[in-house]
């Protein structure tokens, strides 16, 4: 852009996590989140995030910083970063997904949900239950009934492994 914009000082934002830690980031990094963008447009420079805990926020800021500097040349680098980013425990993933949902960061939301969906895909319902510790509260009769109602979906071979 114009040379005048380069000399301008970068606008900063302060994000405050649910456990009261404060983080200073550039506005251009923060506005990738729709929630933060809306607040910034209303004139906020201090953004309290009562639904996002420090642990998730650190990771998310890291993600936003990386994606803010996206160019053609670091495409591969970002891909590797994303891959590492989602390579974490389910508990982390769920915390991140709640935070990304609250912050409205659609690209992150898509990536996290895709990661979780990939773990459900191709698995038998029994394996999914074990992986996510889902407690089946159906009676065997109820279960049989649901299976019958949508028999098509339960045809074929499924992956029983828990990885």
């Amino acid at each position: 852009m114009a040379s005048t914009t380069e000399t301008k000082q970068k606008k900063m934002l302060i994000l405050k996590s649910a456990d009261n830690d404060e983080f200073e980031i550039e506005e251009s990094v923060g506005v990738q989140s729709e929630t933060i963008k809306n607040l910034v447009e209303d004139g906020f420079t201090f953004v309290p995030l009562p639904n996002v805990y420090t642990k998730a926020l650190i990771k998310i800021i890291d993600y936003l910083k990386k994606h803010a500097n996206k160019t053609d040349s670091n495409d591969e680098e970002i891909k590797t970063f994303d891959k590492d980013f989602v390579n974490t425990t389910f508990d982390d993933l769920f915390e991140l997904v709640s935070a990304a949902n609250y912050l409205h960061i659609s690209c992150l939301m898509n990536m996290l949900c895709q990661t979780i969906a990939d773990r459900i895909k191709d698995k038998s319902p029994e394996a999914v239950r074990k992986i996510f510790h889902i407690n089946c509260d159906y009676t065997p009769e109820e279960e049989a009934k649901i299976r019958k109602a949508n028999a098509q979906a339960f045809e074929g071979q499924f992956d029983e492994s828990l990885d």
């Binding site: 805990y53 890291d62 508990d91 709640s98 999914v128 992986i131 159906y138 949508n150 979906a153």
Partner: protein
């Protein structure tokens, strides 16, 4: 996965360290270190996050959590329903439907998915490139769709996508599906009758497939919530007397239209706003009427004459592979026009009869042209008397003399915004050609000029100086080697080039103090 005992500190600390949040890690560590039952405290904290913000009704969960410990929590089911539906949205319908058996909470979750996608082979987890296997799965597909539609009955679905290659023999089943879909409150329906290719125009076998599905708009006459309809690769049956007044946008792709058929469809959709035709086989003559405000033609064939007689039409975009003659019998509101005749020598027409016939209200015009045609510029000053915005997409050789386009500015007296994009795809030498020296014509309205594909060659700088010297109220001029130009359904971009400091300085020097407008700013990107 949940953590095994003793695994915890490493798993928390390592990611934190790698994230560079060392100070915060200290904070955490301090917090964990002070309390002997750190593990449980941490998880109860995490548990509270979920309890407090996502399932506020489960007050007792927090206690249960402490008792259960850290290894068996069902965090997934505790996510809010809309997040879970969003996750399910990344699965195929069948995969998502299987989750109904996980537990009671999951019973109807998949049925809350906003989009239902039925795709021939995808439903069975088979790579959709294997089109030749479709026929083996036809019966299964029919059964699967019937079951799923039944499961969804009584619910609301915003969008339904169908992609399959059923022939005419299945029209009874198809009719029933449309009946079921009509009751789902669907707003957007996409019906693709071919799972092989996205661009039927490149495959003439497909467009003339004798067993092509015949779709009757009558099937949707009860779908009163439907706003957007997309039809791909089918024949649309005559629809006289049918009313689809709820429809706002209609998009036809790879559809064969006989003479009078599009007119028929338009008279059935009395509230249509947007019409899009892509890769369609059209009759030689079309008359567009009705309430439509925006029309897009992309890569359609067969058309030779088109008459725009739509009272509300504001925007018209087209890319044709051959010359099409335009009539504007009644388009009093038309403001934006994009016209691109690919690979034809249409420039004399575009800047001749076409320009002369354009309705008076047209304010913005986008034209794409090759360099061989650049000699045909209009000379009549009355031609573009109301034009405020002009975008020229020029396909040029590297040494093209851009100054040649300056006569065009002379006939656009009210122009406020000029956007030039140079696509230098041709490598041949164009030859310099002789032209008369520039005599500046003063422009009293031109405020902004954008020049994409600007490399700082001699003619380019001469052209930029010409504009600075003739535009009396110029506010901004952008010069950039990068550009993005919209052309029908796709955007063409070139962004990997920028000036070095030295080049930029020398361009700046050449343009310095040339502007006659006091407010002019030149921005070199």
């Amino acid at each position: 996965m949940a953590l095994a005992d003793g695994d915890l500190p490493g798993r928390i600390i390592l990611p934190l360290l790698t994230l560079g949040g060392i100070a915060l890690w200290m904070n955490y560590y301090g917090f964990l270190g002070k309390k002997p039952r750190s593990k449980f405290l941490f998880w109860s904290r995490a548990g509270r996050v979920i309890n407090k913000y996502f399932v506020p009704s489960y007050e007792e969960n927090e206690i249960a959590l402490l008792e259960v410990g850290d290894s068996k929590m069902d965090y997934l089911s505790q996510l809010p329903d809309d997040v879970l539906s969003f996750i399910l949205g990344h699965l195929t319908v069948s995969e998502a439907a299987r989750t109904s058996i996980l537990s009671k909470k999951w019973r109807y979750l998949f049925a809350a998915m906003p989009t239902l996608e039925f795709k021939c082979l995808d439903m069975f987890g088979i790579d959709s490139c294997n089109h030749n296997r479709c026929s083996y799965y036809q019966q299964n597909f029919l059964k699967g769709v019937n079951q799923l539609l039944q499961l969804y009955s009584g619910r609301k679905v915003a969008q339904v996508d169908f992609t399959f290659c059923l022939g005419r023999e299945f029209s009874t089943e198809f009719g029933q599906w449309m009946h079921s879909i009509s009751r789902l409150g669907v707003e957007r329906l996409c019906l693709s009758f071919n799972c092989e290719t996205d661009y039927p125009i490149y495959d003439s076998n497909l467009i003339h497939n004798p067993n092509k599905f015949e779709f009757s708009l009558e099937l949707l006459s009860q779908a009163s919530s439907l706003k957007h309809l997309v039809l791909k690769d089918c024949i649309v049956q005559p629809s006289t007397g049918i009313r689809l007044n709820f429809l706002k946008t209609l998009s036809l792709c790879g559809v064969q239209l006989a003479s009078g058929q599009l007119e028929d469809i338009l008279s059935s959709c009395l509230n249509l706003n947007q019409l899009e035709l892509e890769c369609c086989e059209l009759p030689y003559k079309l008359h567009i009427s009705g309430t439509v405000t925006s029309i897009i033609f992309f890569a359609c064939s067969g058309l030779e004459e088109i008459d725009l007689g739509a009272i509300n039409l504001r925007s018209f975009e087209c890319i044709f592979f051959s010359k099409v003659r335009f009539h504007f019998s009644f388009a009093p509101m038309l403001e934006n026009v994009m016209i691109n005749f690919k690979g034809t020598a249409a420039m004399p027409y575009t800047f001749g009869d076409f320009a002369r016939d354009l309705p008076a209200k047209v304010k913005s015009l986008t034209v794409k042209a090759g360099q061989s045609q650049i000699k045909y510029f209009p000379t009549e000053t009355q031609m573009f008397r109301n034009l405020r915005e002009l975008t020229l997409v020029l396909v040029l050789a590297y040494d093209f003399d851009i100054v040649k386009i300056s006569p065009l500015l002379g006939v656009c007296r009210l122009l406020r915004y000029l956007d030039i994009v140079q696509l230098r795809t041709i490598r041949e030498v164009s030859g310099s050609g002789i032209r008369r020296p520039l005599s500046p014509i003063y422009h009293t309205e031109l405020k902004e000029v954008k020049f994409g594909g600007f490399y700082g060659t001699k003619p380019e700088i001469e052209f930029a100086v010409y504009i600075l010297r003739s535009a009396m109220v110029l506010e901004r001029m952008f010069l950039s080697p990068c550009f993005a130009c919209y052309s029908g359904s796709f955007t063409c971009e070139m962004e990997d080039f920028s000036f070095e400091e030295r080049e930029r300085n020398s361009i700046e020097q050449e343009l310095e103090r040339k502007a006659i407008s006091r407010n002019a700013v030149v921005i070199i990107e």
